[in-house]
């Protein structure tokens, strides 16, 4: 077990080091998300009192699209010298390699989301009442996106049309995450929905756990099929 953890750490550290040096994933996601926020700011006929209605939607659309843009870049460094197989041919369980890459994407996306969501809160004047629910939903939602997205961005690494295929494949699976996420975010900024944010957070947690297991198990099988 400790070997697995060490290898997990090695892959994650490698990705962090490359990301720190090139910064291409975080920059790509940050720039894309900031542009998206501007577009939303101008696109909505913003009746300032009603931002509570569409604010949460903007947060989650920005998060989903930026995470997907980041996914496409996540394996570029592996694609260049065939390095994905340099890891898979090592005495390392494929699931460990997958988990490390997914965690890497999760951390980069959370770093980006911190900036972007702060911008949205400012631009759209969202008064966050329940910060715990707000941040919790973002973390759990991003985890779900990282798990599902990383699995398919690894598989589509060499596919010609991966920019189209990745959203086409992952968005239907991630619809529940967006539904739950928007619910909790809306509740946390005071939307008058008679719903229990806790239930939706547990739903997101359940999603992450089940899809965590499914993606880790499927990765090894799919990459070698």
């Amino acid at each position: 077990m400790t070997a697995g953890l060490r290898q997990f750490g090695a892959v994650l550290a490698k990705d962090a080091r490359i990301e720190f040096r090139t910064r291409d994933i975080v920059y790509t996601m940050a720039l894309f998300s900031i542009l998206l926020v501007f577009v939303f700011a101008f696109a909505f006929l913003s009746d300032p009192s009603r931002t509570r209605d569409y604010g949460p939607g903007i947060v989650w659309v920005t998060l989903l699209f930026s995470a997907t843009v980041g996914q496409n870049r996540l394996f570029d460094r592996e694609r260049e010298n065939g390095c994905l197989w340099s890891m898979l041919l090592a005495p390392v369980p494929a699931g460990v390699v997958f988990a490390a890459k997914a965690t890497g994407h999760f951390l980069f996306t959370v770093a980006m989301a911190a900036v972007t969501v702060a911008l949205i809160v400012v631009f759209f004047d969202l008064r966050v009442l329940d910060v715990g629910g707000f941040v919790g939903s973002l973390l759990l939602g991003t985890a779900g996106m990282s798990l599902v997205g990383t699995l398919f961005s690894a598989m589509l690494m060499n596919a010609r049309m991966k920019e189209v295929l990745l959203p086409l494949v992952t968005f239907p699976v991630l619809v529940p995450v967006v539904i739950a996420g928007v619910k909790v975010t809306a509740l946390s900024v005071g939307a008058p929905l008679q719903e229990d944010a806790g239930a939706w957070l547990r739903f997101l947690l359940g999603f992450d756990m089940i899809f965590g297991a499914v993606t880790v198990l499927l990765f090894g099988r799919m990459i070698r099929s």
Binding site: V148, L165, D196, G206
Partner: protein
Amino acid sequence: MGRGWTRWIGAALAVAALVTMLAALYAIFFVAPLEMTMGIAQKIFYIHVGSAMNMLLAFGVCALAGATFLAVRAPRARAMADAIGVATAEVGVTLGAIVLVTGPLWARKAWGTWWTWEPRLTLSLMVFLLFLAYLALRAFAGSDRFGRGVAAGLSIMGIPAIYFIHFAVERWGGAHPQVVYKGGLTVPGMKLAFWLSVLAVSLVTAALAYQRAVIETQRQAIDALFLELDRREGLP
């Protein structure tokens, strides 16, 4: 599977499907009484829900085929699983088209709008999208074993995905699960029409999927023959 044997099954399924479909249509239009609130438009309901249920069933079979494709090593079993996977996916998309055409027509009469995010209608849309993604993966992610393996992986992941979509969509319109429109199947005549149309659509699905699977198996056989030619090419 010998040629005669497969042709016989294909024909039997097609005939059964046609007969049952005609019986179902008879039951829908001549046995089932008119429903009070919606009148004749309610008759769309039978084929709409029949198709939706069979689309879900097709997705389940596709996921099973995908699991077999990834789990099993024997080439023959994998080829068969692959054929069933693509067959159920294509017929599933066809059923999805039916559901997404009859759905809005039904919604227009039932609720006055072409589209509502009614839980079951939304779930059908998502299953349709998952099938499209499956076929897109088979087409663009590599026509070799790897591309099929990725598509198989998506079909397996589709099962928990559908569960979570169903759960979320049910509660999307407020915490309490919506009272899902039952189509007013109160009268025995209506129940007969409903179950007959579900059976009819199932047989149509089976007939089309069987035919598509046979085509895929034959395509695999032709590939094997080309391979055999290639194998012999080098020998003296």
